[in-house]
Symmetry: C2
């Protein structure tokens, strides 16, 4: 699949590398075209670099791998988003990871859906550190990849992409349940970086019948 990745940070680079290794065609988008091209070269495997708008046009699915405060301006730079499938892996973090900026009666995902007119938002890949995107297998256990969204066809595409990375996909229903997946990410951050577990932990939904 053609995947556009908006953002050249840890998340974008890990996802770009991981998906291109699985045979997907990746374009990295940045405000800084040279930076995007440099990252694409590092990824190899046919990855290319482009502007935000190029990357949006390129991707059958486009991942927002940017920080919460940059969402609005980035979406504006992407141009027409009508019908576009956007994967939101963003957590609306406060400075110093001290908490979430929004929640309970809304979520980053729902706020992005309001900002990105006409786009189809699917929440995924927000509740684990980017260091695990390339290999979400802990021994014999696959980490859970929690996904939610309102458009079933788009969600199916995203679930397949999450599964391609090696996650055990958990469909968490409608986009509104991002109100539960963003606190889950915050719990991961707290456990990993505040309460002594370190980043080599992850949540798995286990099943007694399996």
């Amino acid at each position: 699949m053609k995947i556009g990745i908006i953002g050249t940070g840890n998340v974008g680079s890990a996802l770009g590398e991981a998906w291109s290794m699985k045979g997907h065609e990746v374009m990295i988008g940045s405000r800084d075209l040279q930076r995007a091209q440099k990252m694409a070269e590092e990824i190899k495997n046919n990855a290319s670099g482009g502007t935000y708008e190029d990357t949006k046009k390129f991707g059958e699915v486009v991942v927002l791998a940017i920080h919460w405060p940059d969402v609005k301006s980035t979406l504006e730079s992407m141009g027409d988003l009508n019908g576009k499938i956007l994967i939101d892996c963003i957590n609306p973090l406060k400075p110093q990871l001290s908490g979430l900026e929004v929640g309970f009666n809304t979520s980053a995902a729902e706020e992005i859906a309001k900002m990105a007119k006409g786009a189809i938002i699917i929440k995924a890949l927000n509740s684990i550190g980017a260091l695990h995107f390339k290999d979400p297998k802990f021994g014999e256990l696959s980490v859970s990849g929690f996904v939610c969204g309102d458009d079933e066809n788009a969600k199916e595409k995203v679930k397949n992409l999450v599964s391609d990375l090696g996650f055990d996909v958990v469909d968490c229903g409608p986009l509104q349940n991002a109100r539960l997946l963003e606190p889950l990410a915050m719990l991961w951050i707290k456990l990993a970086y505040v309460h002594g577990f370190g980043p080599n932990v992850a949540f798995k939904l286990i099943n007694k019948e399996k």
Copy 2:
């Protein structure tokens, strides 16, 4: 340990049975003394029944196994709570499990701490259905028992009790992190009863280094 259990519903009865099977001494508290005594007889193993106040006095640790709307009146019936360790396994559920009544800037645990003057509140055992309290082992995997609270000595006692049940204890830091554990419970409820996973699922924090 002497454990007081406030409430004769699914949660109270499962915990009473599970802890008494592990050798702890249990008193069940109810507004209806006969109901408490009947449940204690069903549990056997030295379990007894009492009023809310009896049960509060009996327990070195006292579990609140009641519904969210009943918390205030129940705490009032328990009398002086000064220095008492209360395990809060309550989720502040809306009717029909449609969501949480409180969250984000507070939590049921923090609200209970405000209501229960002088008591030490430890959040535990809220993020999985009561059906698993007696046997939280899924094959070779122990379900995670997420615990948070501000008093380290009290939390240690509660962590030992949660571990006695067979959970893999995950210390999630201060009581404020109940703001993350209550949405986790809501996610469990949604997955179990709305999104097709059924109640035989649970969250486990897995570690890549183990």
